[in-house]
Amino acid sequence: MSEQGPIRWLGVVAFTAALAGGLLLLDRGLGGPRAHGGFIEVPLLDDLPTDLGPRMSPTYFPASLRWPPAQIRWRRAGGRAWWLGISAAQGELALWMGAAEGPRPGAPHEIAGCLPAADPDAEPCPTGWHTHTRPLVQGFTMFVVTRLPPEEAEMIFEGLERGERPR
């Protein structure tokens, strides 16, 4: 490869790996850990790719919740899915809404145990959280997973059904 021998090139490989490690440390140090389960976390709703299945807009949203979503995650590998984590006025997450495809739809690790047909290794559904689901087109399922009172959750869910728009 070179007249100067492979040892120097090993140094180049090590230097490249060190740079990569430095970037990883910088990113995870400043930006926090990446979402689990192959989900990509993005800052804006506009950053969600357009081919992730039906998109819903809430037509009812209680004043106790904050919009825009605090968490926006999506994935393609292992079944397309997108999820929005909505926080309550106090700041903690109170509701996840999204759509996922396939017989074992993927969800953010925090609520993965709340889904029917959840992975056996998934963390259990947090106490007090409940799930609303409805099949959508093209093998997708719509989800609302929340710790809000069931009647309020039902109104959000029905509002979402009315606001459904195919993408």
Binding site: W9, V13, L24, G38, E41
Partner: protein, 321 residues
């Protein structure tokens, strides 16, 4: 769009750091080596940007393997310090203005200046070029199928020597320059221009310039391209010195050409004040010193080394998106 532009700048800066490290680790390396590494620094960020654009559509997210998430980092910076976005736009816009004023206009005006001059066949120059080309071929510096550039004199009093043309390149040397140089110096200058053809000529330079133009907003691309053009001159000097065996004659020719430039005396006076004049003088000093002090090194990297470097840099930059 904003994230894409900033990601490209980050790619370019990372490429600069990587190149600096690699050059230190593999030192000493010839100027030809440096031009190849710097060319990678210009090309790989463009490929990494394309990969960032296309990979989601291809269903190939890097997931956990992403090293640096530029979008979220930018968004966090925007929230923490709102002036970040306007400042970044100012930096990107300012770099585009620098590109237009210092590179685009300079290139266009520079070509126009000599294009008006008449090209005259010069049998003596042609014979000298033929002998030099044979030596380039003997040393394996021209490919077997590579056509040697033509040679012509320019009916111009100003000292000009350049390789012109993309498909049928021609070395043009002004009569004013021929009159100012002795035989050895002229041989050195002609060999230098023929070396440009050996290193890819204007086609390669145009490709690199297009890569630079695609990244006109990037300060890193500015540094990479200017370093590359400077190193290219050093590389051609090294090849010319190797072919002629007379580095001192080429060094003295460079000094003679510099002294004969219109306004050279004023430039010398202004050199401490004008950035461009200072850079030109610095490059001249470096070239003369490289020719006189050290044995010019014209070693060329093999394709495997270039490919290996490209893969390493692509793996690094592909993780930044």
């Amino acid at each position: 769009m904003f994230v894409l532009l900033v990601a490209n700048v980050v790619h370019g800066l990372l490429a600069l750091v990587w190149i600096a490290g690699v050059q230190r680790l593999l030192a000493p390396r010839s100027a030809i080596w440096a031009t190849h590494t710097l060319a990678l620094g210009l090309a790989v960020p463009v490929l990494a940007g394309l990969w960032g654009l296309l990979s989601p559509a291809l269903g190939a997210e890097m997931g956990e393997l992403t090293l640096l998430r530029v979008g979220p980092a930018l968004e966090a910076a925007r929230v923490a310090a709102p002036p970040v976005a306007p400042l970044a736009w100012t930096l990107l816009g300012g770099t585009v203005i620098l590109f237009v004023a210092q590179e685009l206009l300079r290139a266009v005006l520079g070509v126009r200046r000599w294009q008006r001059a008449e090209r005259v066949p010069d049998p003596a120059l042609a014979a000298l070029a033929e002998r030099l080309v044979a030596e380039f071929r003997r040393q394996g510096l021209y490919g077997r199928r590579q056509r040697a550039p033509g040679v012509a004199a320019l009916d111009l009093d100003r000292p000009v020597a350049l390789l012109a043309g993309l498909h049928a390149p021609t070395v043009l040397i002004s009569r004013g320059l021929v009159a100012r140089l002795d035989a050895d110096q002229l041989e050195g200058v002609l060999a230098h221009e023929l070396a440009h053809a050996a290193l890819g000529g204007n086609r390669r330079l145009l490709m690199l310039w297009l890569l630079r133009a695609l990244q006109a907003h990037s300060p890193a691309a500015l540094v990479l391209f200017r370093s590359l053009t400077a190193r290219l001159e050093l590389a051609c000097d090294a090849l010319a010195a190797r072919v002629t065996g007379k580095p001192a004659a080429l060094a003295s020719a460079l000094m003679a050409v510099h002294r004969a430039q219109p306004g050279a005396a004023a430039d010398a006076a202004n050199a401490a004040r004008t950035t461009a004049a200072r850079a030109d003088r610095k490059l001249l000093e470096t070239r003369v010193r490289a020719l006189l002090d050290a044995r010019p090194d014209a070693a060329t990297p093999g394709p495997a080394a270039v490919l290996f470097g490209a893969v390493l840099l692509a793996l690094l930059l592909g993780g930044v998106r």
